[in-house]
Point group: C2
Chain length 255, copies 2
Amino acid sequence: MTILGVDSNPQHAEQALERGIADEILSLEAAVISADVVVLATPVNAILQQLPVVLELLRPNAALMDFGSTKEQLCAVVATHPKREQYVATHPIAGTEYSGPEAAFATLLDGKTMIICEREKSAPAALEQVEQLCRLLEMPLRYMPAAEHDLHFAYVSHLSHISSFALGLTVLDKENNEKNIFDMAGSGFSSTVRLAKSSPQMWGPIFSQNRKNVSEALAGYIEQLQQFKAAIDAQDEELTKELMAKANDIRRILG
Amino acid sequence: MTILGVDSNPQHAEQALERGIADEILSLEAAVISADVVVLATPVNAILQQLPVVLELLRPNAALMDFGSTKEQLCAVVATHPKREQYVATHPIAGTEYSGPEAAFATLLDGKTMIICEREKSAPAALEQVEQLCRLLEMPLRYMPAAEHDLHFAYVSHLSHISSFALGLTVLDKENNEKNIFDMAGSGFSSTVRLAKSSPQMWGPIFSQNRKNVSEALAGYIEQLQQFKAAIDAQDEELTKELMAKANDIRRILG
């Protein structure tokens, strides 16, 4: 198997070669016209532009997948594309707060869930190619409509990122002496604020494409926080404890 | 060295013996009157009640410390106590979302920062006993006024817990099919929601004792979230990216 890499950033392209992530670096067109499977792993605004172009270039028996964190707009942009069935809309539930080839590690996808959307719009052969790749990585597969995907991920992923970014901003605003944060931050702060290190270029377009769901999730989150604040302001410790006990239910799910 | 344990919960007392956390279980009074160093590691509402009682029982050359996450009210309750100087107000920046003897592990405190408040109100001998213990555990020491401690920790710890509890509630409210959360939650969600597993009995009293600061921190946090929501609703992707880029500054501090 040969891995053909494409990167708009020449430095990243070189790093990908050095780290053995790609065997060769080519132009988008040159890579796509000789590929059996194409994976688009760019910010979702770039995927939106690349999908129709890459589909157009794709060889007859090749499959196209993407690693975007949104699915509804991506599926929509190729909905009537004559080669739509060569596309398999995928989202691997894997990643870290870091980006670029320096952030890559070989076991990133191992055992992680792969979501496949609009499976019925993909050709069986294209689907089989993608599923086989996933089986090799021992990735459990889940199928769902694109709209459902975007709604769920607004809650279980996109909201987490905004909660983290906003937490980082709140603490940075208050603590102008950064040494204080460094000395006093425990593992709790680090884990809740970790995602605030994530790339704005990657996340801005995700929030834009999933605007309605993310806005709804944020509204719900703000309401929960206001409920906590009201209980604390009213010195209603029983209510804050009740809210926390309800939130403890997450233990049953996350172990 | 002999470790005398005291626990209001007989099952926890037994677990502490079984796990070698304590050599002997005694009543509070019996333990305190024969101890050289007493550590109160109970919820902060219990510490508030125990501090004056335990100080009263304390032997002349013994030192008393506590592991409470608040310091202002605890220092205040013994401010005029005749044996105040045997108390050293401490807060180790260590812990997990789990509680009780089953959650204990030997390296919890190793290398973690120990905050000491109102150092000037402790007798040099008591202070020295506590500092020596910390040196044995290679815990870096930081000294600060109790009011400053409570303000900082509202931001770098207490707020993180509320952000997590509220995130758990928001997602549980929306996703009544828990299998969905389980299958789709990535490491980002897990790390932002981890603290939602924390004990309501421990955290309720912390928020109550640090009410003013926690409320201020929460107000600031809600404002940042509203700013994000407004930018997303207005489709102002440049602004959401700007906010995220500012939040990225946390990288410089947390690495």
